[in-house]
Amino acid sequence: MEFAGIKSLIFYAFALLTVASAVLVVTVRNIVHAAFSLMITLFGVAGLYVFLQADFLAATQVIVYVGGILVLILFGVMMTSGRLQMRIQIERGQLILGGLVALLILLLLFGVISNTPHWEGIKDDGSTLEPTTRTIGEMIMQGEFLLPFEVVSILLLVALIGAALISRKEVRDEE
């Protein structure tokens, strides 16, 4: 079918975009460029979620990661760079050793993937699928995830108090 061909082409484009910008995050010298590469990676992952019919997660990825976490990281960049030079050299020994460890991890992961039992493959028509927001809402609000949902609020409370404590202490020290 014509549509299926175009769709897989778009999938490959998103996959390439995601991996290429992730490589840029690691390799690029300028930290602000790294942050913007990370933004492209996060958008690419959101696109892949759309391909996996996880529409709510795709939207959440954009709201939480791109709109929240990335902005916070950029704040961190702006608060710690400035006049000081942020471009730190990579040591050769670290590069070789790190690359070796990463290669081993990659081989391990690919070994696991090739040994997973073969399911029949993701069904691509997907036209019958419901939007997932309602399902997720039902699972959180009345299903088995109600307790985690309330625990998350405590986690966020602890994070908020911790962050407030750490940054306010700095301001008091300064004065």
Binding site: Y65, I69, I105
Partner: protein, 99 residues
């Protein structure tokens, strides 16, 4: 686009994140690489959730995103605080706890 594609993509993203954590010395870049690894794990979660037709995987990913947000809030507060005291974000220079 079978499951293997998504899992391979996730493995690649995860490995890129591992390389970043191992070779970069800037704490904020290391932070970004941790986010990359979390995203790789999330991608595998969603792919397998789709494969099994079980939306629990998507709820897991939702909670992982929440935890990632809390982690970033605290982690960046710590990095900025360390920078205030030591004027550096190079993780090799922050070694007061080294025996």
């Amino acid at each position: 686009m079978s499951l293997e594609w998504y899992l391979a993509l996730s493995a690649l993203l995860f490995t890129v994140g591992v390389i970043g954590v191992l070779i970069r010395r800037n704490a904020i870049i290391i932070f970004m690489c941790i986010e990359l690894m979390l995203n790789a794990a999330n991608l595998a979660f969603v792919a397998i959730s789709r494969e099994l037709g079980d939306p629990s995987g998507q709820v897991f990913v939702f909670f992982v995103m929440t935890v990632a947000a809390a982690e970033v809030a605290i982690g960046l507060a710590i990095i900025v605080s360390v920078f205030k005291h030591r004027e550096t974000v190079n993780v090799d220079e922050v070694d007061s706890l080294k025996g």
